[in-house]
């Protein structure tokens, strides 16, 4: 808020915000289902969330998960229930159904999203370009604690970003959040030291290689399976790390691309440069 706002207005605003918060918090108790009685068994990622695939398979065999008496939509087509972990279709082979749709059916769309991000990053770097780097003199350097702390925290954040995009087909998450987490780790390095600059050539190489990898995976699908961005790998057992076909490969490519792009954007926005 502005510093010349009268005290009264500030207090009224505070009371207003707090009132909304109180209403929000206490609506929780009327709107939420009871904690011990939530039935989330109707979601597929539940199997992975429980981290207990054997139990899930038992549930399948007993028929508690799928309703055997379900009426099929079309009577001329025999009703075949989807069996997780056995079919070769990608939709049943990935624990996270959303990612299977995003990467398989709408894989071309995702390629377009990556391109949009690439164009945005290129635009930022075009606008904020500068050859010479300005050495700041009046700015206050961060202390030793921040330097060492961000350096050690960077390791954890970097590995966690990799964890998020490698497990994209098992848990919510995937390439875009994973890349953003890695880029925020790089932002931490910028905050913790004065005059940090990432290896720009390395970032460019990573970005290009991962973008190329996406297209190459698509072309392999075109050659092998007669369709661009089609799955060409076995789906494996649901819930395992090595499952769900090529989703993991594509998410690794997206994660590296988004991470290096956003790091380059951070670099361009944070560093003062002199135009020549």
């Amino acid at each position: 808020m502005m510093s010349d706002t009268p005290e009264m207005v500030k207090k009224v605003f505070a009371i207003f915000v707090v009132g909304i918060l109180i209403i929000g918090f206490f609506m929780v108790f009327t709107q939420m289902p009871k904690g011990n009685e939530v039935n989330v068994n109707n979601t597929v990622s539940r199997f992975y969330v429980m981290k207990d695939v054997d139990h899930a398979t038992q549930m399948l065999d007993k028929g508690t998960y799928f309703n055997k008496d379900m009426v099929p939509l079309r009577n001329d087509v025999p009703y075949t229930p989807i069996t997780f972990g056995k079919s070769s279709n990608l939709e049943d082979g990935a624990a996270n159904v959303v990612t299977s749709i995003v990467v398989d059916y709408r894989g071309f769309d995702t390629l377009g999203e990556v391109t949009v991000l690439f164009l945005a990053a290129s635009g930022v770097m075009l606008v904020l370009h500068g050859e010479k780097r300005k050495i700041p003199k009046k700015k206050i350097a961060p202390s030793e604690i921040m330097y060492v702390g961000t350096r050690i925290a960077f390791a954890v954040i970097f590995l966690f970003g990799i964890y998020v995009f490698i497990h994209g087909h098992l848990t919510p998450g995937g390439g875009f959040p994973g890349g953003a987490i890695i880029a925020s780790g790089i932002l931490g390095l910028f905050l913790g030291r004065q005059g940090y600059s990432p290896n720009k050539a390395g970032l460019t190489v990573f970005e290009s290689l991962s973008g190329m990898a996406y297209v190459i995976i698509g072309i392999i699908g075109l050659v092998g399976e007669k369709s661009f961005l089609a799955n060409f790998l076995p789906t494996g057992t649901i819930g395992d790390l090595f499952s769900a076909g090529f989703i993991a490969l594509i998410y690794i490519a997206i994660g590296m691309k988004v991470g290096s792009e956003l790091s380059a954007v951070t670099n361009a926005m944070i560093v003062d440069t002199e135009e020549d």
Partner: protein
């Protein structure tokens, strides 16, 4: 800012070990597939970032024993004491505070050790490390006991400094 103590190979392998260990923790229900992927990731990811992670390399692994069996019990005791102190302060209607900024001196050479000391000071009763400059740490003390540098150092940092001196030798 700091000079590397160990060779790059040494630091690289420390990063590999640490990343592999962290990966196992993050993907806890042990499975051989996660371990295979973890090994590959540890080798490649530490190639990218071993320079940021450590300066003294594999020596750090030896410190974990001291960390677990000597540092951690003292730290947890101090943390609980600090919180009881805060609770007494906040719930007391009169709030008996007598704050001040004091300066203490440490004999620790390694920057990482000094940062550990400063962070431990932040989480112990009534003290908050505000700034660090060489061997001096500036501290906000909520109930000032002594303004003398030597005396204040002994009172605030004494118990941790001994442990950290052994640990970062």
């Amino acid at each position: 800012m700091e000079k590397a103590e160990a060779s790059s190979i040494n630091r690289y392998f420390y990063a590999v070990v640490l990343y592999f260990f962290l990966w196992i923790i993050l993907t806890y229900p042990f499975s051989i597939q996660e371990w295979e992927a973890g090994a590959a990731i540890a080798f490649t990811a530490s190639l990218l970032s071993y320079k940021e992670l450590s300066i003294s390399g594999l020596k750090n692994i030896k410190r974990i024993g001291i960390l677990l069996f000597w540092y951690l019990p003292v730290f947890i005791r101090e943390l609980i004491k600090a919180n009881l102190h805060v609770a007494g302060l906040v719930l007391n209607p009169k709030m008996p505070i007598k704050p001040g900024f004091v300066k203490i001196k440490t004999n620790l050479k390694s920057p990482v050790a000094r940062v550990w000391l400063a962070n431990s000071i932040t989480l112990t009763p009534g003290t908050l490390s505000v700034d660090i400059e060489g061997q001096y740490i500036y501290i906000h003390w909520i109930t000032v006991g002594s303004t003398d540098v030597e005396h204040a150092s002994e009172e605030i940092a004494g118990s941790f400094e001994k442990i950290l001196e052994v640990m970062f030798r």
